[in-house]
Symmetry: C3
Subunit: 155 residues, 3 copies
Protein backbone atom coordinates (compact mmCIF):
# COMPACT_ATOMS: atom_id res chain seq x y z
CA UNK A 1 0.00 0.00 0.00
CA UNK A 2 1.22 3.45 -0.99
CA UNK A 3 2.17 5.26 2.21
CA UNK A 4 1.16 8.57 0.70
CA UNK A 5 -2.40 7.55 -0.09
CA UNK A 6 -4.96 8.59 2.48
CA UNK A 7 -7.68 5.99 2.88
CA UNK A 8 -10.96 6.25 4.75
CA UNK A 9 -12.52 2.90 5.71
CA UNK A 10 -16.08 3.01 7.01
CA UNK A 11 -17.68 0.05 8.78
CA UNK A 12 -21.46 0.42 8.61
CA UNK A 13 -23.13 -1.71 11.29
CA UNK A 14 -26.49 0.09 11.68
CA UNK A 15 -29.51 -0.15 9.43
CA UNK A 16 -31.38 3.03 10.33
CA UNK A 17 -31.84 5.96 7.97
CA UNK A 18 -30.12 8.39 10.35
CA UNK A 19 -27.06 6.17 10.76
CA UNK A 20 -26.80 5.37 7.00
CA UNK A 21 -26.33 8.97 5.89
CA UNK A 22 -23.26 9.96 7.96
CA UNK A 23 -21.18 7.25 6.25
CA UNK A 24 -22.52 8.11 2.80
CA UNK A 25 -21.88 11.84 3.27
CA UNK A 26 -18.33 11.25 4.50
CA UNK A 27 -17.60 8.76 1.70
CA UNK A 28 -18.84 11.23 -0.89
CA UNK A 29 -16.84 14.14 0.55
CA UNK A 30 -13.73 11.96 0.75
CA UNK A 31 -13.97 10.89 -2.90
CA UNK A 32 -14.42 14.52 -4.00
CA UNK A 33 -11.10 15.21 -2.28
CA UNK A 34 -9.30 12.25 -3.83
CA UNK A 35 -9.25 10.21 -0.62
CA UNK A 36 -9.59 6.43 -1.14
CA UNK A 37 -12.83 5.06 0.31
CA UNK A 38 -13.65 1.53 1.39
CA UNK A 39 -17.15 0.94 2.73
CA UNK A 40 -17.74 -2.26 4.67
CA UNK A 41 -21.29 -3.35 5.53
CA UNK A 42 -21.93 -5.68 8.46
CA UNK A 43 -24.73 -6.74 10.82
CA UNK A 44 -27.73 -4.36 10.53
CA UNK A 45 -25.70 -2.22 8.13
CA UNK A 46 -26.36 -4.96 5.56
CA UNK A 47 -29.80 -3.38 5.10
CA UNK A 48 -28.12 -0.38 3.44
CA UNK A 49 -26.90 -2.59 0.58
CA UNK A 50 -29.87 -4.97 0.53
CA UNK A 51 -31.78 -4.41 -2.74
CA UNK A 52 -35.17 -4.73 -1.08
CA UNK A 53 -34.29 -2.57 1.92
CA UNK A 54 -31.83 0.17 0.93
CA UNK A 55 -34.55 2.65 -0.01
CA UNK A 56 -36.80 1.66 2.88
CA UNK A 57 -34.58 2.32 5.89
CA UNK A 58 -36.37 3.89 8.84
CA UNK A 59 -35.65 6.15 11.74
CA UNK A 60 -36.88 4.88 15.06
CA UNK A 61 -38.27 7.53 17.42
CA UNK A 62 -38.46 4.99 20.24
CA UNK A 63 -34.72 4.34 20.16
CA UNK A 64 -33.75 7.94 19.37
CA UNK A 65 -34.53 10.04 22.43
CA UNK A 66 -33.16 13.07 20.57
CA UNK A 67 -36.31 13.07 18.47
CA UNK A 68 -38.05 14.19 21.62
CA UNK A 69 -41.05 11.89 21.61
CA UNK A 70 -42.30 10.28 24.82
CA UNK A 71 -41.75 6.52 24.57
CA UNK A 72 -45.47 5.81 24.86
CA UNK A 73 -46.12 8.00 21.81
CA UNK A 74 -43.05 6.89 19.84
CA UNK A 75 -44.19 3.30 20.19
CA UNK A 76 -47.63 3.84 18.68
CA UNK A 77 -48.36 2.23 15.29
CA UNK A 78 -47.56 4.57 12.41
CA UNK A 79 -45.26 6.89 14.33
CA UNK A 80 -42.07 5.30 12.97
CA UNK A 81 -43.36 5.67 9.40
CA UNK A 82 -44.38 9.27 9.99
CA UNK A 83 -41.00 10.17 11.48
CA UNK A 84 -39.24 8.40 8.60
CA UNK A 85 -41.26 10.32 6.00
CA UNK A 86 -40.43 13.59 7.75
CA UNK A 87 -36.70 12.87 7.84
CA UNK A 88 -36.66 11.78 4.19
CA UNK A 89 -38.26 15.10 3.27
CA UNK A 90 -35.58 17.02 5.20
CA UNK A 91 -32.84 15.00 3.49
CA UNK A 92 -34.37 15.71 0.09
CA UNK A 93 -34.52 19.45 0.85
CA UNK A 94 -30.74 19.35 1.33
CA UNK A 95 -30.44 17.93 -2.20
CA UNK A 96 -29.16 14.60 -0.95
CA UNK A 97 -30.18 11.55 -2.97
CA UNK A 98 -32.05 8.54 -1.53
CA UNK A 99 -29.82 5.76 -0.16
CA UNK A 100 -29.50 3.52 -3.22
CA UNK A 101 -28.86 6.46 -5.56
CA UNK A 102 -26.26 7.75 -3.07
CA UNK A 103 -24.52 4.34 -3.13
CA UNK A 104 -24.45 4.48 -6.94
CA UNK A 105 -23.02 7.99 -6.81
CA UNK A 106 -20.14 7.20 -4.45
CA UNK A 107 -19.43 3.92 -6.25
CA UNK A 108 -19.25 5.74 -9.59
CA UNK A 109 -16.89 8.19 -7.90
CA UNK A 110 -14.56 5.33 -7.00
CA UNK A 111 -15.62 4.24 -3.51
CA UNK A 112 -15.30 0.48 -3.00
CA UNK A 113 -18.22 -1.35 -1.38
CA UNK A 114 -17.81 -4.62 0.52
CA UNK A 115 -20.31 -6.88 2.24
CA UNK A 116 -19.30 -8.81 5.36
CA UNK A 117 -19.19 -12.55 4.64
CA UNK A 118 -20.27 -13.54 8.14
CA UNK A 119 -23.35 -11.29 7.95
CA UNK A 120 -24.24 -12.56 4.48
CA UNK A 121 -24.13 -16.10 5.85
CA UNK A 122 -26.02 -15.28 9.05
CA UNK A 123 -28.81 -13.55 7.14
CA UNK A 124 -28.83 -16.28 4.46
CA UNK A 125 -28.32 -13.76 1.66
CA UNK A 126 -26.63 -14.21 -1.71
CA UNK A 127 -24.99 -11.73 -4.05
CA UNK A 128 -28.31 -11.47 -5.89
CA UNK A 129 -29.87 -9.88 -2.79
CA UNK A 130 -27.32 -7.08 -2.73
CA UNK A 131 -27.26 -3.90 -4.81
CA UNK A 132 -25.06 -4.16 -7.89
CA UNK A 133 -22.61 -1.59 -6.52
CA UNK A 134 -21.22 -4.11 -4.02
CA UNK A 135 -17.76 -5.04 -5.31
CA UNK A 136 -17.19 -8.14 -3.24
CA UNK A 137 -18.18 -10.19 -0.23
CA UNK A 138 -15.19 -10.35 2.12
CA UNK A 139 -14.27 -11.74 5.53
CA UNK A 140 -12.90 -9.80 8.48
CA UNK A 141 -9.31 -10.75 7.69
CA UNK A 142 -9.57 -9.55 4.10
CA UNK A 143 -11.07 -6.30 5.38
CA UNK A 144 -8.19 -5.82 7.80
CA UNK A 145 -5.69 -6.58 5.07
CA UNK A 146 -7.05 -3.86 2.81
CA UNK A 147 -7.26 -1.23 5.55
CA UNK A 148 -3.67 -1.17 6.75
CA UNK A 149 -2.76 2.44 7.33
CA UNK A 150 -6.34 3.63 6.80
CA UNK A 151 -8.44 5.80 9.07
CA UNK A 152 -11.21 3.40 10.14
CA UNK A 153 -14.61 4.55 11.37
CA UNK A 154 -17.13 2.23 12.99
CA UNK A 155 -20.65 3.55 12.51
Amino acid sequence: MDEDTRTLAIINSKGTLDMAYPGLVLANAARMMGIEVKMFFTFWGMDIINKKKSDHLKVSPVSTPSMGMPTMVAGLPGVTDMATTMMKREIEKLDMPPVHEFLEMIHDAGAELYACKMSVDMMKLTEADLVDEVDEIVGAMEFLEMTEGAQILFI
Copy 2:
Protein backbone atom coordinates in the same frame (compact mmCIF):
# COMPACT_ATOMS: atom_id res chain seq x y z
CA MET B 1 0.09 19.29 9.14
CA ASP B 2 2.95 18.49 11.46
CA GLU B 3 3.63 14.77 11.19
CA ASP B 4 4.74 14.63 14.79
CA THR B 5 1.51 16.00 16.22
CA ARG B 6 -0.94 13.40 17.43
CA THR B 7 -4.54 14.44 16.80
CA LEU B 8 -7.73 12.88 18.08
CA ALA B 9 -10.83 13.71 16.05
CA ILE B 10 -14.17 12.74 17.57
CA ILE B 11 -17.38 12.68 15.56
CA ASN B 12 -20.34 12.90 17.95
CA SER B 13 -23.51 11.65 16.28
CA LYS B 14 -25.62 10.66 19.31
CA GLY B 15 -27.58 12.94 21.59
CA THR B 16 -27.99 10.78 24.67
CA LEU B 17 -26.32 11.50 28.01
CA ASP B 18 -24.49 8.16 28.05
CA MET B 19 -23.06 8.66 24.55
CA ALA B 20 -22.08 12.31 25.18
CA TYR B 21 -19.70 11.57 28.05
CA PRO B 22 -17.31 9.09 26.38
CA GLY B 23 -16.29 11.74 23.83
CA LEU B 24 -15.96 14.45 26.47
CA VAL B 25 -13.88 12.25 28.77
CA LEU B 26 -11.54 11.21 25.94
CA ALA B 27 -11.22 14.80 24.69
CA ASN B 28 -10.36 16.00 28.19
CA ALA B 29 -7.78 13.25 28.77
CA ALA B 30 -6.23 13.91 25.36
CA ARG B 31 -5.83 17.62 26.02
CA MET B 32 -4.22 16.90 29.40
CA MET B 33 -1.64 14.86 27.50
CA GLY B 34 -1.01 17.51 24.85
CA ILE B 35 -2.86 15.65 22.11
CA GLU B 36 -4.70 17.90 19.63
CA VAL B 37 -8.49 17.47 19.83
CA LYS B 38 -11.11 18.23 17.20
CA MET B 39 -14.72 17.55 18.16
CA PHE B 40 -17.24 17.39 15.36
CA PHE B 41 -20.97 17.36 16.14
CA THR B 42 -23.45 15.94 13.65
CA PHE B 43 -27.00 14.55 13.50
CA TRP B 44 -28.34 13.86 17.03
CA GLY B 45 -24.95 14.83 18.43
CA MET B 46 -25.97 18.42 17.66
CA ASP B 47 -27.98 18.29 20.89
CA ILE B 48 -24.72 18.24 22.85
CA ILE B 49 -23.83 21.71 21.57
CA ASN B 50 -27.39 23.06 21.39
CA LYS B 51 -27.74 25.79 24.05
CA LYS B 52 -31.24 24.69 25.04
CA LYS B 53 -30.43 20.99 25.10
CA SER B 54 -26.82 20.41 26.20
CA ASP B 55 -27.70 20.25 29.89
CA HIS B 56 -30.90 18.31 29.30
CA LEU B 57 -29.65 15.21 27.50
CA LYS B 58 -31.32 11.99 28.58
CA VAL B 59 -30.56 8.32 28.86
CA SER B 60 -33.17 6.07 27.34
CA PRO B 61 -33.83 2.84 29.24
CA VAL B 62 -36.01 1.57 26.40
CA SER B 63 -33.13 1.72 23.90
CA THR B 64 -30.46 0.65 26.38
CA PRO B 65 -31.09 -2.99 27.27
CA SER B 66 -28.00 -2.89 29.49
CA MET B 67 -30.00 -0.82 31.97
CA GLY B 68 -31.90 -4.02 32.63
CA MET B 69 -35.46 -2.71 32.51
CA PRO B 70 -38.20 -4.71 30.81
CA THR B 71 -39.37 -2.75 27.76
CA MET B 72 -42.91 -2.42 29.14
CA VAL B 73 -41.52 -0.73 32.25
CA ALA B 74 -38.86 1.32 30.47
CA GLY B 75 -41.56 2.78 28.24
CA LEU B 76 -43.73 4.07 31.08
CA PRO B 77 -44.06 7.85 31.48
CA GLY B 78 -41.45 9.23 33.88
CA VAL B 79 -39.05 6.31 33.67
CA THR B 80 -36.69 8.05 31.24
CA ASP B 81 -36.52 11.11 33.51
CA MET B 82 -35.92 8.94 36.57
CA ALA B 83 -33.12 7.00 34.88
CA THR B 84 -31.58 10.26 33.63
CA THR B 85 -31.62 11.76 37.12
CA MET B 86 -29.97 8.63 38.51
CA MET B 87 -27.20 8.67 35.92
CA LYS B 88 -26.56 12.39 36.42
CA ARG B 89 -26.12 11.72 40.13
CA GLU B 90 -23.58 8.97 39.41
CA ILE B 91 -21.68 11.25 37.02
CA GLU B 92 -21.61 14.00 39.63
CA LYS B 93 -20.26 11.58 42.25
CA LEU B 94 -17.29 10.95 39.96
CA ASP B 95 -16.62 14.72 40.01
CA MET B 96 -17.44 15.09 36.34
CA PRO B 97 -19.07 18.37 35.32
CA PRO B 98 -22.44 18.65 33.55
CA VAL B 99 -22.26 18.61 29.73
CA HIS B 100 -22.09 22.35 28.98
CA GLU B 101 -19.51 22.98 31.72
CA PHE B 102 -17.51 20.02 30.36
CA LEU B 103 -17.57 21.56 26.87
CA GLU B 104 -16.29 24.85 28.33
CA MET B 105 -13.55 23.00 30.16
CA ILE B 106 -12.21 21.11 27.16
CA HIS B 107 -12.57 24.19 24.94
CA ASP B 108 -10.56 26.27 27.44
CA ALA B 109 -7.98 23.48 27.39
CA GLY B 110 -7.62 23.89 23.63
CA ALA B 111 -10.04 21.40 22.10
CA GLU B 112 -11.64 22.69 18.90
CA LEU B 113 -15.40 22.31 18.51
CA TYR B 114 -17.12 22.15 15.12
CA ALA B 115 -20.77 21.86 14.13
CA CYS B 116 -21.74 19.97 10.98
CA LYS B 117 -23.14 22.35 8.35
CA MET B 118 -25.55 19.81 6.93
CA SER B 119 -27.05 19.10 10.36
CA VAL B 120 -27.32 22.81 11.16
CA ASP B 121 -29.27 23.26 7.92
CA MET B 122 -31.42 20.18 8.40
CA MET B 123 -32.41 21.22 11.92
CA LYS B 124 -32.86 24.86 10.85
CA LEU B 125 -30.43 26.11 13.49
CA THR B 126 -28.19 29.17 13.46
CA GLU B 127 -24.98 29.96 15.31
CA ALA B 128 -27.09 31.67 17.96
CA ASP B 129 -28.63 28.30 18.89
CA LEU B 130 -25.23 26.76 19.60
CA VAL B 131 -23.11 27.09 22.74
CA ASP B 132 -20.44 29.80 22.48
CA GLU B 133 -17.65 27.23 22.59
CA VAL B 134 -18.39 26.13 19.02
CA ASP B 135 -15.52 27.48 16.91
CA GLU B 136 -17.08 27.11 13.50
CA ILE B 137 -19.75 25.46 11.38
CA VAL B 138 -18.02 23.28 8.79
CA GLY B 139 -18.91 20.89 5.98
CA ALA B 140 -17.78 17.28 5.63
CA MET B 141 -14.95 18.22 3.25
CA GLU B 142 -13.55 20.82 5.63
CA PHE B 143 -13.71 18.26 8.41
CA LEU B 144 -11.81 15.71 6.34
CA GLU B 145 -9.23 18.32 5.41
CA MET B 146 -8.47 19.11 9.04
CA THR B 147 -8.27 15.48 10.12
CA GLU B 148 -5.58 14.18 7.78
CA GLY B 149 -3.34 11.90 9.82
CA ALA B 150 -5.66 12.02 12.84
CA GLN B 151 -7.12 9.14 14.81
CA ILE B 152 -10.85 9.50 14.09
CA LEU B 153 -13.55 8.09 16.35
CA PHE B 154 -17.20 7.91 15.37
CA ILE B 155 -19.42 7.93 18.44
Copy 3:
Protein backbone atom coordinates in the same frame (compact mmCIF):
# COMPACT_ATOMS: atom_id res chain seq x y z
CA MET C 1 6.10 2.04 20.48
CA ASP C 2 7.44 0.28 17.42
CA GLU C 3 6.41 2.31 14.38
CA ASP C 4 6.18 -0.82 12.27
CA THR C 5 3.68 -2.58 14.50
CA ARG C 6 0.10 -2.28 13.41
CA THR C 7 -2.25 -1.99 16.38
CA LEU C 8 -6.02 -2.17 16.45
CA ALA C 9 -7.64 -0.59 19.52
CA ILE C 10 -11.34 -1.26 20.02
CA ILE C 11 -13.45 0.74 22.47
CA ASN C 12 -16.54 -1.28 23.36
CA SER C 13 -19.26 0.97 24.76
CA LYS C 14 -22.40 -1.09 24.06
CA GLY C 15 -23.71 -4.05 26.00
CA THR C 16 -25.95 -5.71 23.44
CA LEU C 17 -25.23 -9.09 21.87
CA ASP C 18 -25.23 -7.66 18.33
CA MET C 19 -22.75 -4.92 19.22
CA ALA C 20 -20.45 -7.25 21.22
CA TYR C 21 -19.67 -9.57 18.30
CA PRO C 22 -18.30 -7.08 15.75
CA GLY C 23 -15.46 -6.16 18.14
CA LEU C 24 -14.75 -9.78 19.04
CA VAL C 25 -14.70 -10.89 15.41
CA LEU C 26 -12.36 -8.05 14.39
CA ALA C 27 -10.09 -8.67 17.39
CA ASN C 28 -9.88 -12.36 16.53
CA ALA C 29 -9.15 -11.74 12.85
CA ALA C 30 -6.52 -9.15 13.75
CA ARG C 31 -4.69 -11.53 16.09
CA MET C 32 -4.70 -14.26 13.44
CA MET C 33 -2.89 -11.77 11.20
CA GLY C 34 -0.35 -10.74 13.82
CA ILE C 35 -1.93 -7.32 14.43
CA GLU C 36 -1.68 -6.09 18.04
CA VAL C 37 -5.10 -5.82 19.70
CA LYS C 38 -6.16 -3.71 22.65
CA MET C 39 -9.79 -4.01 23.74
CA PHE C 40 -11.13 -1.32 26.02
CA PHE C 41 -14.50 -1.76 27.74
CA THR C 42 -16.47 1.27 28.92
CA PHE C 43 -20.02 2.29 29.85
CA TRP C 44 -22.54 -0.42 28.77
CA GLY C 45 -19.66 -2.31 27.14
CA MET C 46 -18.66 -3.27 30.68
CA ASP C 47 -21.38 -5.92 30.52
CA ILE C 48 -19.27 -7.83 27.98
CA ILE C 49 -16.55 -8.41 30.60
CA ASN C 50 -18.87 -8.66 33.60
CA LYS C 51 -18.71 -12.26 34.89
CA LYS C 52 -22.44 -12.40 35.58
CA LYS C 53 -23.47 -10.77 32.32
CA SER C 54 -21.05 -11.69 29.53
CA ASP C 55 -22.97 -14.80 28.52
CA HIS C 56 -26.35 -13.16 29.02
CA LEU C 57 -26.18 -10.19 26.66
CA LYS C 58 -29.37 -9.52 24.74
CA VAL C 59 -30.48 -8.06 21.46
CA SER C 60 -33.23 -5.51 21.74
CA PRO C 61 -35.84 -5.62 18.96
CA VAL C 62 -37.38 -2.38 20.22
CA SER C 63 -34.17 -0.43 19.69
CA THR C 64 -33.16 -2.28 16.51
CA PRO C 65 -35.62 -1.32 13.80
CA SER C 66 -33.65 -3.52 11.38
CA MET C 67 -35.13 -6.54 13.11
CA GLY C 68 -38.36 -5.49 11.49
CA MET C 69 -40.73 -5.78 14.43
CA PRO C 70 -43.42 -3.16 15.05
CA THR C 71 -42.59 -1.33 18.28
CA MET C 72 -45.82 -2.48 19.94
CA VAL C 73 -44.84 -6.10 19.34
CA ALA C 74 -41.15 -5.68 20.09
CA GLY C 75 -42.05 -4.22 23.48
CA LEU C 76 -44.14 -7.18 24.60
CA PRO C 77 -42.81 -9.30 27.48
CA GLY C 78 -40.72 -12.23 26.23
CA VAL C 79 -39.98 -10.83 22.79
CA THR C 80 -36.47 -9.66 23.71
CA ASP C 81 -35.64 -13.11 25.10
CA MET C 82 -37.03 -14.80 22.02
CA ALA C 83 -35.06 -12.57 19.64
CA THR C 84 -31.92 -13.13 21.73
CA THR C 85 -32.33 -16.90 21.59
CA MET C 86 -32.79 -16.74 17.84
CA MET C 87 -29.67 -14.65 17.31
CA LYS C 88 -27.58 -16.89 19.59
CA ARG C 89 -28.65 -19.87 17.48
CA GLU C 90 -27.56 -18.11 14.28
CA ILE C 91 -24.21 -17.19 15.86
CA GLU C 92 -23.69 -20.81 16.93
CA LYS C 93 -24.48 -22.04 13.41
CA LEU C 94 -21.56 -19.92 12.18
CA ASP C 95 -19.31 -21.78 14.63
CA MET C 96 -18.68 -18.69 16.71
CA PRO C 97 -18.24 -19.23 20.45
CA PRO C 98 -20.41 -17.58 23.13
CA VAL C 99 -19.12 -14.23 24.40
CA HIS C 100 -17.04 -15.34 27.40
CA GLU C 101 -15.42 -18.18 25.48
CA PHE C 102 -14.69 -15.73 22.64
CA LEU C 103 -12.99 -13.38 25.14
CA GLU C 104 -10.86 -16.30 26.38
CA MET C 105 -9.95 -17.21 22.82
CA ILE C 106 -8.79 -13.75 21.79
CA HIS C 107 -7.00 -13.25 25.10
CA ASP C 108 -5.15 -16.54 24.67
CA ALA C 109 -4.24 -15.35 21.19
CA GLY C 110 -2.61 -12.26 22.68
CA ALA C 111 -5.31 -9.59 22.67
CA GLU C 112 -5.08 -7.27 25.69
CA LEU C 113 -8.30 -6.52 27.59
CA TYR C 114 -8.79 -3.36 29.63
CA ALA C 115 -11.67 -2.13 31.77
CA CYS C 116 -12.38 1.60 32.01
CA LYS C 117 -11.67 2.88 35.53
CA MET C 118 -14.42 5.49 35.45
CA SER C 119 -17.03 2.89 34.47
CA VAL C 120 -15.81 0.46 37.13
CA ASP C 121 -16.26 3.22 39.70
CA MET C 122 -19.61 4.39 38.39
CA MET C 123 -21.04 0.86 38.41
CA LYS C 124 -19.43 0.11 41.78
CA LEU C 125 -17.63 -2.95 40.46
CA THR C 126 -14.36 -4.51 41.56
CA GLU C 127 -11.87 -6.71 39.74
CA ALA C 128 -13.67 -9.72 41.19
CA ASP C 129 -16.75 -8.85 39.14
CA LEU C 130 -14.83 -8.98 35.88
CA VAL C 131 -13.85 -12.01 33.83
CA ASP C 132 -10.32 -13.24 34.51
CA GLU C 133 -9.16 -12.29 31.02
CA VAL C 134 -9.21 -8.58 31.90
CA ASP C 135 -5.55 -7.54 32.13
CA GLU C 136 -6.00 -4.27 33.94
CA ILE C 137 -8.35 -1.46 34.93
CA VAL C 138 -7.10 1.74 33.30
CA GLY C 139 -8.08 5.40 33.01
CA ALA C 140 -8.68 7.34 29.79
CA MET C 141 -5.18 8.82 29.83
CA GLU C 142 -3.53 5.41 30.17
CA PHE C 143 -5.68 4.17 27.31
CA LEU C 144 -4.61 7.08 25.11
CA GLU C 145 -0.98 6.51 26.02
CA MET C 146 -1.06 2.89 24.90
CA THR C 147 -2.90 3.63 21.63
CA GLU C 148 -0.54 6.14 20.04
CA GLY C 149 -0.32 5.29 16.36
CA ALA C 150 -3.11 2.70 16.62
CA GLN C 151 -6.23 2.44 14.51
CA ILE C 152 -8.97 3.12 17.06
CA LEU C 153 -12.57 1.97 16.63
CA PHE C 154 -15.40 3.13 18.84
CA ILE C 155 -18.18 0.56 18.93
